[in-house]
């Protein structure tokens, strides 16, 4: 039977975008399947509700209470073409060098020379992505950021401008609801649209139901991926085949697609396959908002334009601070705020805070958590479950970070502070990459240890949580995969 495509890529975000573009550029016949809609700059407005419904997936909550643990985390991600890069804050930092040591510790990830995989192995790919997406130092701080930084300078811990995928035409009109000026260079603009011009076929609003995996009749009897079944936007069932499949649905979704594809049964729960969904990390986050005595209108800005990384290494505190943040819209701001006991606010107290929304600016705390979470299917109900403990160590990191935030905000002139729920947009590690198949799902070039032709390329492959916004690292790994494929299985003849 003829094969429809050279490659099918499931997902168009940070993991799927760069490799899709590279393969299309090399003349490969590719299909991209995206579960979300296809929206472009003209569709992106400050109508927050519409954006939350069309561009954001409904937050998924952890179910830690089933483990007898306190502290649930709201996990948010994008759901349109471009994935989370359409609604992200565009912070583009490389993983710090010390994270690579942790990667080797976690999964014994090695480079092609059999050495521990290190920063130099990813550096050329970081450079390519930075060039493709126009990463630059973002110096145009808004009033909220300047005000906050004044306070933190006083207490001896200044913020620094972030690197961002933002062109100079940014008019600071918001990032979280899609960029209306195309200043933000997510994967839709940088990779997917160019790939379409090069002939890539995009199926959007299409839900993958199964990756077709079967055992080969060959002597090694290894499982092989050969195609994808999905429901297209008209509701019709489609089945397409390809030489290789690249699963890039994100660290939250990829395990579920593998479970639905029956991979555990087909390869009979090998040590590697039993790792699917395990080792899940999220950079658990919380926001501390400060109320100031002057109007900041901090929603008219580029969120997260300053970063403080001096405490990010776990030995130094294990938290990364980013500012300034007020969620860009009143609905999201109202949703996340909690009282002193961590109970969501409502009623007249919340109303009063909302009526002073113009005076608030906040700081995002991302902690260095452990890869101790798990995404799995309940054996009785078949429903997906997510465990991601907020451990005593995590809580201690939050406590230290919050104390510093309160000190800095007070020095900046904030009269009171306000906390948020635990949340995360940095899901990672549920299908780790490594050279030891007992500790990882995919090998050092993203191919499943136990399924030929099935590659995973999204945040799920990151071996242990990184102390930076992960999108740049995911894109760099995606370019690295593109290089590998074009020099091996998809090598031009």
């Amino acid at each position: 039977m003829p094969i429809d495509y050279d490659a099918i890529i499931i997902g168009s975000g940070a993991g799927g975008g760069p490799v899709a573009h590279m393969l299309a550029q090399a003349g490969k016949k590719i299909a991209i399947i995206e579960s979300g809609g296809f929206y472009t700059a003209n569709d992106f407005t400050r109508f927050e509700l519409q954006a939350l419904h069309t561009l954001w997936a409904k937050p998924r909550w952890t179910q830690n209470y089933e483990l007898g643990l306190e502290g649930e985390i709201a996990l948010g991600m994008g759901k349109s073409v471009g994935g989370s890069t359409t609604i992200f804050t565009a912070v583009a930092h490389r993983a710090p060098d010390f994270n690579f040591d942790e990667w080797y510790e976690a999964t014994e990830l090695e480079n092609d020379r059999g050495e521990p995989f290190g920063p130099a192995d990813l550096a050329p790919y970081y450079e390519q992505v930075e060039r493709d997406t126009g990463v630059r130092k973002y110096n145009e701080w808004d009033d909220g950021m300047k005000t906050i930084n004044e306070g933190f300078e006083k207490v001896g811990h200044p913020f620094h401008p972030v690197d961002a995928y933002i062109s100079p035409q940014c008019d600071q009109s918001g990032c979280l609801f899609g960029c209306p000026t195309e200043a933000k260079r997510g994967t839709m603009l940088s990779y997917i649209v160019p790939a379409i011009y090069l002939g890539a076929v995009l199926f959007y609003n299409s839900t993958v139901t199964k990756i077709i995996i079967s055992r080969t009749p060959s002597s090694d009897d290894k499982a092989v991926a050969s195609g994808v079944e999905f429901i297209d936007q008209s509701g019709a069932r489609q089945s397409i085949s390809a030489k290789i499949i690249i699963l890039a649905a994100g660290a939250l979704n990829s395990p579920g697609i593998l479970f639905d594809s029956g991979v555990n049964q087909i390869v009979e729960d090998t040590p590697s396959v039993s790792q699917i969904g395990r080792n899940f990390g999220v950079n658990t986050a919380a926001i501390v908002f400060g109320k100031f005595g002057k109007v900041l209108d901090n929603w008219l800005m580029h969120p997260l334009s300053g970063q403080m990384e001096e405490f990010s290494q776990k030995e130094k505190g294990g938290y990364l601070l980013e500012a300034s943040e007020v969620m860009e819209g009143p609905l999201s701001f109202a949703e996340v705020m909690v009282d002193e006991d961590g109970i969501p606010l409502w009623g007249s107290r919340q109303k009063e805070i909302m009526e002073n929304y113009r005076y608030y600016a906040g700081i995002f705390i991302n902690i260095h958590d452990q890869n101790d979470g798990r995404i799995f299917r309940d054996p009785e109900t078949g429903m997906e479950k997510i465990y991601k403990p907020v451990t005593f160590v995590d809580k201690a990191r939050f406590k230290a970070a919050k104390a510093l935030c309160e000190q800095g905000l007070e020095a900046a002139g904030a009269s009171e502070t306000l906390n948020s729920v635990y949340l995360s947009h940095h899901v990672q590690g549920s299908c780790r990459m490594g050279s030891n198949p007992r500790r990882s799902v995919v090998d050092s070039h993203n191919e499943m240890h136990d399924v030929d032709g099935l590659y995973i390329m999204d945040g799920s492959v990151i071996p242990s949580v990184i102390d930076a916004n992960p999108s740049l690292t995911i894109m760099a790994l995606s370019r690295r995969l593109g290089d590998h494929l074009l020099s091996t299985v998809l090598k031009p003849k």
Partner: protein, 163 residues
């Protein structure tokens, strides 16, 4: 519409009363409702009704189940439905829903839909007063004057047809 005595598409009369009470609790009007309206003043119950009307059956039943559960808890403790309780008792019931890990996510979803019915800047087609964004002065470039298309809501679609 669900019945002659009930002007809603999906909610029963009791459920509408529940969401009216919850709307007053979660997003109350200020002392002067004209300058500081709450969820009920702008028509938040109709937003919730129309939103639920278009939701898939499973989600409709999910929300219906939460309302039922909260009413059962209210009955268990106070022998009254949630809508008939005084505000301190309503506060207690809602807070206990958030405190119990087994019901926390459902409490979030319930609070979310009420917050949406106001802070999204929603208002009924017939309401011409100040709305959330005006009340909190959420404004500026690309915000002020933005056209919001509410036609995804059944009540707005029907209202447009009547024009």
């Amino acid at each position: 519409m669900t019945s002659e005595n009930n002007k809603h598409y999906f909610l029963t009369k009791d459920e509408a009363q529940f969401f009216t009470a919850l709307g007053i609790l979660v997003v109350p009007a200020g002392k002067d409702p004209a300058s500081s309206p709450g969820a009920v003043e702008v028509g938040g119950v109709n937003y919730i009704d129309s939103t639920l009307f278009d939701f898939p059956k499973g989600v409709q039943e999910y929300f219906r189940g939460i309302v039922k559960l909260i009413n059962e808890k209210s009955q268990e403790r106070y022998r009254k439905d949630f809508a008939s309780l005084g505000q301190p008792d309503q506060e207690f019931v809602l807070r206990s829903f958030f405190s119990d890990p087994l019901t926390r996510e459902r409490a979030f979803d319930l609070r979310s839909i009420v917050l949406e019915s106001f802070y999204s800047d929603y208002h009924d087609p017939s309401y011409h007063g100040i709305t959330a964004w005006g009340a909190i002065q959420f404004e500026g470039k690309r915000i002020s004057g933005i056209k919001k298309d509410w036609s995804f809501l059944k009540n707005w679609r029907d209202s447009d047809q009547q024009k």
